[in-house]
């Protein structure tokens, strides 16, 4: 069965650079969630989209923005990167209920 696809798998950036993470949800899933997971930490909710509209907002910094496109894929844009942004970024999708299916994540390292 198709799963949530995230790209890139790994990303290395310098401080103050920008990064774009992409997420392709499971086919026919209309809701996308972004989570950030620091080393040894639990995933922290950043933001979610339903039918291309922002549906919920968590602890997402103002330097970050995200959107969902007409094909339901989503992109997380991160600017003015800081060392503390180094983490695993997960995307999850659902078909309208609370059961989220997660991708394999993007490991972002800010040097």
């Amino acid at each position: 069965a198709a799963g949530v696809i995230q790209s890139p798998r790994h990303l290395i950036k310098e401080k103050r650079e920008t990064a774009t993470l992409k997420c392709y949800p499971i086919p026919r899933h209309d809701t996308v969630y972004w989570y950030q997971q620091g080393p040894g930490q639990d995933p922290q909710f950043l933001i979610s989209f339903y039918e291309k509209m922002q549906s919920d907002k968590g602890s997402i910094p103002d330097r970050f923005s995200a959107q969902q496109f007409s094909d339901y894929h989503s992109e997380l844009n991160m600017s003015s990167l800081e060392l503390g942004d180094s983490a695993l970024y997960f995307c999850a999708s659902s078909d309208g209920d609370e059961k989220l299916f997660f991708g394999s994540g993007t490991q972002l390292s800010v040097l």
Partner: protein, 112 residues
């Protein structure tokens, strides 16, 4: 905001034994609970879920128990296998939001 938390950060069990991973939640408005398994370098993988109108739900080798009176959730894994070694997270949602709030993970190590 309130979040779900776990009692123990690590758990070691002998292969073949049963494992019990506990979780305490504080949000009385939570009505949906879910367990995820996360292996190193991978995303959280769905194990089992339960709604607040149920006390128990069984899957293949896994059982989730919900005690709403004391706001406690547990995951039982029968006949634990080496492949069960991973970090286990509980998460909850409720009050009209489908956003999941994760608790601190428990690392399960299976001793061959």
């Amino acid at each position: 905001g309130e979040s779900v938390g776990l009692h123990l950060p690590t758990l070691s069990v002998q292969e073949g034994d049963n494992s019990i991973i506990n979780c305490a939640y504080s949000n009385s408005a939570s009505d949906y609970f879910i367990w995820y398994k996360q292996e190193s370098g991978k995303g959280p993988q769905f194990i089992i879920d339960i709604r607040s109108n149920m006390d128990k739900r069984q899957g293949q080798r896994v059982t989730v128990l919900l005690n709403k009176t004391v706001k406690h959730l547990s995951l039982q894994i029968a006949a634990t296998q080496p492949g069960d070694s991973a970090v286990y997270f509980c998460a909850d949602s409720g009050a009209g939001s489908y956003q999941l709030t994760f608790g601190k993970g428990t690392k399960l190590s299976v001793i061959p």
